[in-house]
Structures are given as structure tokens and as C-alpha cells.
């Protein structure tokens, strides 16, 4: 019987090998776990979604019950942090929503075009602080106080033998502006005042790059999670995408690599058109995590010799399918993807995933 410390080391090494495109003893299983754990453990969603510490406790219990998975993307629920990443309001269970519902971003055009001038004249930090506190009502002091407990949350998960795969999340500038302005508002700006948008993004990006370097050094994070979901290729013409998405994503990615960490690109939506761009990153230093909308086989074909792939058990299958369907899907994926592969849910494990289906996913990687 292995101790939790031994299991933790074994699982870390398994993930490390998969990322480095070496052959691990078994395929690592690292789902993006949050709301599922609350349902799994019968925890009240309203409390789970609003307390990082409580969510951490529930997630650890859920993982113990699930058994031999390798880790979780995060040590706690991300919901309270979403407004910071997307500059938009969030509807929470127990507050704006019924107690047992999932949290949801309430995307509205809160940031205005006039705000661009404010950002350019006063700088991003002052604007951001006022915007978060007073415009979208983020209890910033409470959130920051809870974030100070992250090391204890990570330790709790590790003490149970599970890897916290990417404890550090970097919010990207395009996500912030696109969220604050709303997707339509942002896209209109790209046509009607592109130079001003670019100037604003440049100002924010400079701070982001400095902060991410400091954060990686302070936390000694080996893996950094970035999620450029709103910058998907399917949303932009190539010229706009290169100018307003890729340029800034590449700068962030290069900075993470320079700091010696591995990048986990959490890629939602369809990026098929632009997969070739990711070839510019060094071999074995990045993970392409797909929700399944970008065809995982096309990712394998384009990038399989350069970066580890993570994904993509469909949410609908986990919620509606049978354990046999999940097991067979995962077994085929493990066989077809080869060694540089981490088995995961496509984006987050859905809250209403059947427990037996999640267990079938884990079993497929252990058989």
C-alpha cells in the first residue's frame, strides 16, 4: 500500500513524462474539477461556489471517493475569480440564482468606449480596482484574503496524494477587454477604433507580463494555466486574430516559458485554422487542452510531435452516456493519442456528470 506522499510523487512524475512527450507508466487523468465535486458530495452549491476554502475541502473528498485519478487542474472553485478574469458580473447560486444552480457569467457591456480613454490617461491598475469594486461589485478584499490561503489548499490536496496541476492562472488581456466590453462591443471596437483598442491592450499587457513573471517566481509554479477562450480562431478574421489575439497570447506564452514553467493552453471553441501557430513553441514545454470543439485528432496531427494534448471526454457523454460508452471513448483516445496525452474532461467536468461515468474514465486509463 503506497502512502499519499508516494502516490503524489508517482502522479507528478506521470504528468511530467506526458508533458515532456516521454512514455509514462499509465496515462495521467487530470480533469478540470469543480461543480461536479459539489454534486458528487452533496455539498450546497451556494456555499461551494462562494468559498474557495470550502470548495477545496469538498473537492478533496470527491477525489478520494473517485480513487485513482492523478490530480485536478485547480485546488478550488474558480467562480469567485471569474469577474477578475473577464471583467464582467457573475450570477451566483444563493444570491442571484436559486441555491442549487450553477454560477454563470452575466455578460453585459459594462465597460464603455470612454473607459478606453480613462485607462490610457490613468493607467490600468487604478481603473481596474475601481471597475471591479464599484462597477461590477466584486468583494475584492474578501477575494484577495481567500487567495492568500491557496498554499494551504494546495497542501490539503497534495496531502491526499493528488497533484494540483496548474495552481497559477494568468488572466489574458483580450479576455478582460472582450468580457468587459462584451463580445459584440469588443468586435465592433476592432472595426471602429482599432488603434485605440491596441493602445489600451498594450498598456494592460505590460502590467500583465510583469505580474506573471513575479507570480511564477513567488509561487515557483511549474505549470501555468492560461485560457484564451474568447480569442478562438472561429471568431476572428486572420488579420484581426493575429493583431489582437495571437500577438498578445504569444507574448504571455513566451514570458511563461522564459520563466521556466510549462504552459497549459486551456483552449475552448474552435482553433483549427490556426493550430500551425503553436508550432513556434519549444517541444515538450506546452500542453494543448481542448474542450473537444477543436478536433483532438487534428491537434494530434498538427502538434502531436511538439506538445502534450489534454482532453476531451465530451460533457454530454459524461452527463447522459453510459459507463461503457465513456470507457470505450477513453480507451480509444488513449490508444490514438499516444504517450504525450493527459486524459481529461472537455473543459470542466459537468456538474451533472454521472459518478459512474467519471469512474469509467479513470478506469480506462488504469486498465
Amino acid at each position: 500500500m503506497k502512502t499519499n506522499a508516494e502516490l503524489l510523487n508517482e502522479r507528478r512524475e506521470r504528468i511530467r513524462k506526458a508533458v515532456a512527450l516521454e512514455k509514462p507508466d499509465k496515462t495521467p487523468v487530470v480533469p478540470l474539477m469543480d461543480a461536479f465535486c459539489a454534486k458528487h458530495m452533496g455539498a450546497p452549491m451556494a456555499k461551494f461556489a462562494t468559498s474557495l476554502t470550502y470548495s477545496n475541502e469538498v473537492m478533496v473528498e470527491s477525489m478520494k471517493e473517485l480513487g485513482d485519478l492523478d490530480g485536478s487542474d485547480s485546488a478550488f472553485v474558480a467562480a469567485p475569480l471569474f469577474p477578475l478574469g473577464f471583467m464582467t458580473r457573475i450570477k451566483m447560486p444563493g444570491k442571484e440564482l436559486p441555491d442549487d444552480m450553477l454560477w454563470q457569467l452575466d455578460e453585459k457591456e459594462v465597460m464603455t468606449r470612454d473607459d478606453y480613454d480613462t485607462i490610457l490617461s490613468k493607467g490600468w491598475p487604478a481603473f481596474e480596482d475601481d471597475y471591479l469594486r464599484n462597477r461590477i461589485g466584486v468583494p475584492l478584499d474578501d477575494v484577495l484574503a481567500e487567495l492568500a490561503n491557496i498554499p494551504q489548499m494546495v497542501k490539503k490536496m497534495e496531502d491526499a496524494g493528488y497533484v494540483v496541476y496548474s495552481p497559477l492562472v494568468i488572466n489574458l488581456v483580450t479576455e478582460k477587454i472582450s468580457g468587459g466590453r462584451s463580445m459584440p462591443g469588443f468586435m465592433k471596437d476592432l472595426y471602429q477604433c482599432p488603434d485605440k483598442v491596441e493602445a489600451v491592450i498594450d498598456v494592460i499587457q505590460e502590467g500583465t507580463l510583469n505580474e506573471l513573471r513575479q507570480a511564477i517566481r513567488a509561487t515557483k509554479s511549474e505549470y501555468v494555466f492560461i485560457s484564451p477562450a474568447r480569442g478562438a480562431s472561429e471568431f476572428f478574421r486572420p488579420k484581426l486574430w493575429e493583431r489582437f489575439v495571437w500577438k498578445y497570447l504569444k507574448q504571455v506564452a513566451d514570458a511563461i516559458l522564459e520563466e521556466g514553467a510549462v504552459i497549459n493552453f486551456h483552449i475552448d471553441s474552435n482553433w483549427e485554422r490556426d493550430l500551425e501557430y503553436f508550432k513556434s513553441f519549444p517541444k515538450g514545454k506546452c500542453v494543448f487542452e481542448t474542450d473537444g470543439v477543436t478536433d483532438i485528432y487534428k491537434i494530434k496531427e498538427a502538434l502531436g510531435d511538439r506538445m502534450c494534448i489534454k482532453g476531451d471526454v465530451p460533457a454530454a457523454m459524461l452527463a447522459l452516456g453510459t459507463p461503457d460508452q465513456v470507457y470505450n471513448y477513453c480507451t480509444k483516445l488513449i490508444r490514438d493519442m499516444g504517450p504525450g496525452f493527459i486524459l481529461s474532461s472537455g473543459c470542466a467536468l459537468p456538474a451533472n456528470a454521472k459518478v459512474e461515468n467519471v469512474k469509467a474514465m479513470i478506469a480506462a486509463a488504469r486498465s
Binding site: E107, F235, R273
Partner: protein, 209 residues
């Protein structure tokens, strides 16, 4: 009537389009004819989206410019005096407030000559039923981004059927977590992976080439 107007709409040239609409208006051109030319331009936008020359960014701009032009001539796009292939009612199911996918579909359908009734997000079953009774669509689209909304879709479709409104009506579903299994589970006629799928399904249904 101005080819310039059609081209300006298709090329998303806002300043030319505004100038042209104002010029036509001052010449006494009927509003309906101007709208029809704008719609011709929108059809080209839809075609370019289908051919992957245009993306969501261009669909959004086209909708914005169309709205601006319509405001100049006092037109009501929702009333839709312009001829259409048919009517499409669309919303995000109750319990889900995500609207990006829904907006892509409504814009693409509109660009392809369908009259679109957009019910918004968090749409109740009663609102779908009321809209079906009022607008008599050929196709209804139901969107979601959450697997927890699947049961709401299922209930909504069952209720539409129980209300005796399913005959001659096709119901499409789509959204991030949906697939054919979801369509089977909720009782939809088809699952659309992309916005373009909803256009092709609807055109085929209505015999549009």
C-alpha cells in the same frame, strides 16, 4: 437602385453605406427597396461567412451596420417587411444565460434571408410556446452552454408537443456541450454543431437553394 449600397453592406464599409442610404433617402427611394438592397448585401455577408472569408467579428459588424442603416430610414427590422425564406424562433433555454452562440446563429440565419425572432436568454417554456403561436415559425432553435440545462430543453420540447404545436415545426438544438446524444435525449429534430448547420438544415427544409 444602388449597387454601391449592396457592396457597402457586403464589404462592411460603414461610411459609404451611411452616405448611400442618406443619398437614396433624399432622392425619395422607398424604404422597403433600400432594405431589400441591404438584405442583398447581408446575403453576401452570409455567403462569405459560409466560405470562411468572414467570421463572427464580421457578422457582428454586419448586424451593427444593418441596424444603423435601418434606423436612418426608420425601418423596423424585426417586423421584417422584406421577403424571407421563413421564420426562425431562437433562444437560450431557461436556467442558462449564455448568449454568444445564440447570437451567432441568429445573425447567420438573418444573413441568409430568414426572419429571425430572438427570444433572448433564460427563455421559459411559456415564452417559446407564445412565440410559436404568434410567429408561426417553421424552425425553432434552442441553445445552451450548460449540461444542467439539458432537462430544461427536454421539458420545453415535450411541452411544445403537448401544446399541439409540433406538427410542421422542426426543433434544432445547439451549444457547446450538445451532440447527437443530447438531441436524442431532449427530443429535438436535429443537432447543429455550427451556426451554418442551422442555415443548411433550414434551407433544405424550405427548399431554398
Amino acid at each position: 437602385m444602388s449597387q454601391t449600397l449592396i457592396n457597402a453592406m457586403a464589404d462592411l464599409d460603414e461610411s459609404v453605406l451611411v452616405a448611400e442610404v442618406n443619398a437614396l433617402k433624399s432622392q425619395g427611394a422607398p424604404a422597403l427597396e433600400i432594405i431589400q438592397k441591404l438584405q442583398e448585401g447581408m446575403n453576401i455577408v452570409g455567403k462569405r461567412y459560409e466560405e470562411k472569408e468572414y467570421y463572427l467579428s464580421e457578422l457582428i459588424m454586419s448586424a451593427e451596420i444593418f441596424k444603423e442603416a435601418a434606423a436612418l430610414i426608420g425601418g423596423d427590422l424585426a417586423a421584417g417587411d422584406a421577403p424571407s425564406h421563413g421564420t426562425f424562433v431562437m433562444g437560450t433555454i431557461y436556467g442558462d444565460i449564455h448568449d454568444i452562440g445564440k447570437n451567432i446563429v441568429t445573425t447567420v440565419m438573418s444573413c441568409n434571408g430568414f426572419r429571425v425572432i430572438d427570444l433572448g436568454v433564460d427563455v421559459s417554456t411559456a415564452a417559446y410556446i407564445e412565440a410559436i403561436r404568434e410567429h408561426k415559425p417553421q424552425v425553432v432553435g434552442i441553445s445552451c452552454l450548460l449540461t444542467t440545462a439539458f432537462d430544461g430543453m427536454k421539458e420545453c420540447i415535450s411541452s411544445i408537443e403537448a401544446a399541439g404545436l409540433r406538427d410542421g415545426l422542426k426543433i434544432l438544438i445547439g451549444g457547446g456541450p450538445c451532440d447527437q446524444t443530447t438531441a436524442d435525449y431532449v427530443g429535438a429534430d436535429a443537432y447543429c454543431k455550427t451556426a451554418q448547420d442551422s442555415v443548411e438544415y433550414s434551407k433544405k427544409l424550405m427548399g431554398v437553394k
